[in-house]
Amino acid sequence: MSELKPSEISAILRQEMAGFHPETELEETGTVLQVGDGIARIYGLSNAWAGEMIACNDNGLTGIVLNLEEDNAGIVLLGDCRRLREGDIVKRTGRIVSIGVGEGLLGRVVNTLGRPIDEKGPVEGDLYQMPLERKAPGVIYRQPVNEPLQTGIKAIDAMIPIGRGQRELIIGDRQTGKTGIAIDAIINQRENYEKGEPVYCIYVAIGQKGSTVAGVVEKLQQYGAMDYTVVVSATASEPASMQFFAPFTGAAIGEFFRDTGRHALVFFDDLTKQAISYREVSLLLRRPPGREAFPGDVFYLHSRLLERAAKILASDDMAARMNDIPDSIKHKVKGGGSLTAIPIVETQAGDVSAYIPTNVISITDGQIFLESNLFHAGVRPAINVGVSVSRVGGNAQMKNMKKVAGTLKIDQAQYRELEAFARFGSDLDPDTQYVLDKGVRNMELLKQPQYKPLPAEEQIVILYCGTKGLLMDLPLKKIKQFEQEIIRYMREKKPDVMDQLKQDVINGDIMETIESAAKDTIQLLLDQVQ
């Protein structure tokens, strides 16, 4: 170790202390009456606001005022409550809870307070203070959803399209691949990132195992998705308050990108656990319990969170006039940004009529419903197409995809209806047989392995063959191979057509090219069989 001279040490200290002027101000204080289970009751603080941050001691333990009562204030502690004791003095900070957000967060794993927990040192670059609780943009600053957000999953992009600024729920039992869809959609944004039009992704893990979160981060790193992704983690071991505020942190990070004219995509995994943490805190604060012991404002908890997803008007002038823009980013505001929210909700034994699932279904603009029996039957992603909808995404779908896959959803519905009947009888007329054969092939086409999102043009080529019934001569087990072969064929021999498809073009020539490519590929595969 090199030796340091005393003069150097004092020089370093002086440098570090530059700009430090401790000014003593008049502080407003309160006394801790009771503390435990992550909440504290404070006597005093009579001027505190609801939602204000409270400094509990000099070690950085903070709390948030949730209840203002006649003689005391109920606060939740964001940290270890054993560090606070009865009789301690706490101080008002005069600030609403906020976190520092900036480009430096990309590629990082942070906690609810925006502090990095990945051992990669402090967050670099400029940070802008964004409040956790913030009003959603008003009606006049919003634009209808009209730009597609490609998830790279055939079944979703074709039948349940998601647009930028939309709120689409992923709902299903445990172990049905909900998180898998989220990860695939994040990986699929790599293309946009490379093009220089990134869709920044935020993955909020609430109440999950630390190992699960680590697994997700590792997968994202493996597929190069962390370059444009922030992971907010509030694991099951963290206080309930940290868990129920975590989605608000995710929304605050997303809003930074949205308000600076960029696109962001946020996943809340999952809101059921968030509601449970909120219930815990509410019951401890003695708020009256309602249905399933959730407090009365659990609907508002989710609606105000998801309402922050929006597509902002393209005009910079209008965007600058938007309501409740934090002072820190006022000079950076640009129009045309969007925040897409994909909440995830876990059901118990497929019961979507429970309290939280019905609430979130009614708040969002559609849902992707995953079923465990489909999952076990090998249909992966296990999307039940019949009950999954996207109420606004249709306007945002790519035009060529709409043209190609427009009838897919109805076809599949018809197939499922006939399939049930066909189990009883053996004699089927040719029309019915055709619908059944086509349906089962489309089912096969819609299957997709995990971590393999497809670009839009490849999806269109594959789905075109399915919806046009070009695969009727092909044995079922050859379908997977067919997909790979036709994509390779098109990529090698018709790159110009693929480029056109990417540009959202479709015409007779393109369709003919795909048809002839399909014919060649099928012939090739059939020859292999013989």
């Binding site: 202390m17 430090f20 008049l26 502080e27 009456l33 070690n59």
Partner: protein
């Protein structure tokens, strides 16, 4: 101690009105100070009054012997009623609430000064003068010594506090340097 602030306040306000009607406000204030001091210095007393094992008559005897000579008859009756209603253990809280209510009524502010070392009389006098300048009201001055704050002082005035302690400044410095 302050478990039931609303209830304590209610009892205190009732007594304040009663004392006002009987023109014994000053005396009651002094009596309540005595009661509060006795309870604060003897934690067992609250525990004893809370215990369901000990009979009410015994509790009453103890309280009578403690306070019979020292406090005004009105206050004696008041204490007796509270005991009879099984709320003797709340007496300390009620006394504290009463002192607060009395001060509020008479516009007296309580000022607490915390220092790391004992003060000499001259500095103390200066502190009292400075404290009086902070408020328009009459001031009740209290001084505590807490070596934990290392140096400087903390001045508490109701809910407000002026923290000029060395400990606080060091923690500000730590936040500034991101340690």
């Amino acid at each position: 101690m302050q478990q039931n602030i609303v209830l304590n306040k209610r009892y205190a306000k009732a007594l304040l009105t009663l004392a006002g009607e009987n023109n014994v406000l000053e005396r009651s204030y002094a009596d309540m100070k005595t009661i509060h001091r006795v309870f604060a210095q003897n934690k067992e007393l609250s525990v004893l009054l809370k215990s369901p094992v000990i009979r009410l008559s015994k509790k009453q005897n103890i309280i009578n012997r403690l306070f019979d000579r020292s406090i005004h008859p009105l206050m004696q009756n008041y204490v007796r009623i509270i005991l009879r209603k099984q709320r003797g253990f709340m007496l300390e809280g009620i006394a504290l609430a009463y002192l607060d209510e009395y001060k509020k009524l008479h516009g007296i502010e309580k000022i607490l000064l915390i220092t790391a070392f004992p003060m000499d009389d001259q500095i103390r006098q200066q502190a009292v003068v400075a404290a009086k300048r902070l408020t328009d009201c009459e001031v009740e001055f209290e001084h505590k010594i807490n070596p934990d704050i290392i140096g400087g002082f903390i001045l508490r005035l109701g809910e407000k506090q002026y923290n000029a302690s060395v400990k606080h400044r060091l923690s500000l410095l730590r936040t500034h340097m991101n340690l």
